[in-house]
Symmetry: C2
Subunit: 307 residues, 2 copies
Amino acid sequence: MSLNQISIALLIAASSLPAFAQTKTIAERLGYPPDSKLLIIHADDLAVAHSEDAASFDVLDKHAATSASIMVPCPWLTEVAAYAKDHPDADLGLHLTLTAEWKSYRWGPVESKDRVPTLLDPSGNLWPDVEPAVRNIKPDEAEREIRAQIARAESMGIHPTHLDSHMGTLFAKPELFAVYVKVAHEYKLPFLAVRGPQAPAALLSMLSPSDIVLDSLVMADPSINSANWKNFYTTAIQNLKPGVTEIIVHLGHDDAELQAVTIDHPDYGAAWRQRDYDAVTSPEFKQALEQNHIILIHWKDLKKLLQ
Amino acid sequence: MSLNQISIALLIAASSLPAFAQTKTIAERLGYPPDSKLLIIHADDLAVAHSEDAASFDVLDKHAATSASIMVPCPWLTEVAAYAKDHPDADLGLHLTLTAEWKSYRWGPVESKDRVPTLLDPSGNLWPDVEPAVRNIKPDEAEREIRAQIARAESMGIHPTHLDSHMGTLFAKPELFAVYVKVAHEYKLPFLAVRGPQAPAALLSMLSPSDIVLDSLVMADPSINSANWKNFYTTAIQNLKPGVTEIIVHLGHDDAELQAVTIDHPDYGAAWRQRDYDAVTSPEFKQALEQNHIILIHWKDLKKLLQ
């Protein structure tokens, strides 16, 4: 299991922008001073479990997160579709999903299985980890599946504001990143890509001048002591630099369902997700945003820049 | 939605046995006096939700239910497979599943979707109710799917003791019942069929002389007042007649997960399943079994009679 691989994988998605960079900053293009600190507070993994949905909907309703993304192959998609219908302004993207990482609770692809055989582990579910997924998946089958995920979301009335990648699988190999960028371009959707010092030229070369690349990403990792959770986030907010940052959180309630979903995996487990919920809804978090003059934005704001 | 259709559908599965009936009663064949009251206490719907699994495992461990059956296409199958591995004596069959009846929580087939297109509703999940399932499903695709469900269970180390049908879909049309009987015969598995006064000759003619047919079935239905739940079961036990009866229960905890799974559907909902759990684990239930000299049996006992 390596949900924590996402932080490494994301860093290779893009580095400092090459010569074709926009001359105006994203802040300016959105009507803010050029050196503004813009922040997306993003809840991952909607539809994976009811506990995850309930906690995420609550945080979105409180405007304590600005955006979220949905795992279309997961069992609770219909619950999220109902929320989307009732909250047409909610900023919901698709967390394109090519893995099913939990021990007792699994899911398969949206596509017909015989059209995406390399996406399946021996049990007929999606691969349980990034490494076997990347080793086995043929890019054309990944493309077929992510197109099917977008089509299913659309058919259920979900109109995504952006795309990103569950566990970073689509960032983990140039051929998969190429599919991700190709499909995002075709749908005119912004997609998660972040500057980083180690971005391979092969990935960078796939971006177009109009693509929006985030400046930094913040996500809790297993090195953080649970007693220090809120402090991790408030410190991150204090240290934000001008540009666009996304804080990725995983929200849930530490209840029987989520404990069973995440069994034997404390990293990104039920208590972890409860800590994330407690942190983003805390007065300290809100105060840190205010004191550091953080401007909260949504993916749909970035989407407008593409039109 | 019509989980309650199961009681009607089951009644048409078989009526009083025709001339080819075994001369010895099942009780005698199992080594009991001919007029014994044999009872299977059967938990349906394993794998549908963690709450369902946890409650069912607890009741099986307490020997308050003797048997259970598993919904192979459902998300929590791996949790049940782990239980089966840890409890090789557990009496677990397959609750062959051609419907996905809940509002916010859905599942698709085990088979590749383009090999079973008539099993899918417009959202790509299994049909939400028996009526559209029976109207749309081609029998050869139903056969393909139930074979895939058996194969997946076997591949995960689940060796089923019997077969039955979720929501009675396979009892609702002769062509589907024929598939059910054909596959059960091929795997040499006993399958749920119950004598009833209205059994059509078309269904009866599909049974072979060696098939085991239960004498009666008891299942709570929406007409029962929730305050009268335990009394419904103890009265049913007092009224048991000689022969083989199955009491079907739906076990779960009335928690956030199961409330969300069964949202907007109090019949067979979370509180209902908690009431079933409370009833079968109650001292009154146990006392009724003892006072009425009920002999608890398992499907695996019946399976041995086929060999």
